[in-house]
Subunit: 213 residues, 2 copies
DNA sequence: GGGCTTTGGTATCGGGTCGATACGATGGAA
DNA sequence: TTCCATCGTATCGACCCGATACCAAAGCCC
């Protein structure tokens, strides 16, 4: 019966943490809910002939900027080893969903790109059913959810040393185009590499992201 | 580097759904956050010599009532097959964390119980680090989070037919003890089996849970 | 320029999980 | 008793993934 995982159906569960106060009960409940959601989403991602790791890789490649579309960046993002990621990528390439081209600047590096089939596959991302669900609650609860989940994630990251990923244009290294000649046509530049960043790239995920401190 | 998974660090990500309205952007962000949390929590649960499935089984056994401490119930709860669950349970028994005893009423069935070592292990549940984190946000955001996550879960369940699990005392079959003789000392009874339910049992998870309709 | 180290990726191996299938055992019904 | 449904287990195989070893390209230092 490997269909989908069930979950607790009640809105209140006073008994789970019977010895604790209301605050602890809430915390316990959050954990339980995340646990269930986790399992459900994992199961959802066995659709379309791909496995969860492959779906996540596909999503990452679509969202990563030019510094991050590499096996190593993906490995850090997923918390997996390079070898593991390599296999995932080979599988995706064999299915015709991505291409792997050697970069010209450094011929060791591999540039990962979505093919048209890959784009089409992303349009059938099983996580979109989750998106449907969250759309319906977005109006009243969306902002709070994002706030809470974000904080949860940060707290968790703080407890384990974890590589930060973030959007290019919010990086402390990002320089807005001030109008001098060298960056004409670009929206800004990376303070680390000095390269121009265009409008598309600047809103993507970068492996070199640094929080403004 | 199989340590822990990274995650997006920014609070705002306008670019992920650049073509969409604010509502869609929120939904996308929720998905991304859940995705990351999912991966992180999964990785957390490889601690203590157990794997995620084993931790989940341990937690379930601790929280399940007498009708639900069985391999079949666990299989439904986890969305796994009986065979798979059987292996998980064997592993837990070999580690001395649970016992498997044949029930007296129906000798086909197996009653799962935590040992003292199992209880002790649960006290070191890696998900408790998540609890620490949620405790800190419980005050301002806990209630909203629970509400949102619960709705998300329900929406998801509705889209896939999924067995409902819930707490005994909130089940539509639960009968509060009205004071007649047969249930003296008990808090109530199960309307399906007719058996008495005591205070401890009534707040546990039951596989036969039915929503009040 | 010759080594040496470092870094990005890949190939191969083996352990472990999990689903599928088949099976044994018990209980219930005719 | 006989058949069948149900609970649970055993066995097999596919697949995921980490570990290790390895190759190729780049950087360093003399």
């Amino acid at each position: 019966m490997p269909v989908t995982a069930p979950s607790l159906a009640t809105a209140q569960q006073p008994g789970i943490a019977s010895h604790a106060g209301g605050k602890d009960a809430l915390a316990q409940r959050v954990i339980l809910l995340l646990d269930r959601l986790s399992r459900l989403t994992r199961e959802l991602q066995f659709a379309g002939g791909l496995n969860p790791a492959q779906w996540e890789a596909l999503r990452f490649i679509a969202q990563a900027n030019k510094y991050s579309r590499s096996p190593t960046a993906l490995a850090e993002y997923l918390g997996a080893t390079k070898g593991t990621v390599s296999q995932t990528l080979i599988a995706l390439e064999n299915k015709g969903l991505i291409t792997r081209c050697k970069k010209t600047c450094d011929r060791r590096q591999v540039d990962l790109c979505l093919t048209d089939a890959g784009q089409a596959m992303l349009a059938r991302d099983p996580m979109q059913t989750l998106e449907q669900a969250s759309l319906e609650i977005a109006d009243e609860l969306g902002a709070e959810m994002v706030k809470g989940l974000t904080r949860l994630l940060h707290d968790l990251q703080a407890r384990h040393q974890v590589v930060e990923f973030g959007v290019c244009q919010e990086c402390s290294l990002f320089c807005v185009n001030s109008g001098n000649g060298s960056l004409d046509g670009a929206d800004g530049a990376c303070g680390s590499t000095g390269e121009a960043i265009d409008a598309v790239e600047k809103s993507k995920i970068c492996i070199n992201y640094k929080t403004v401190s």
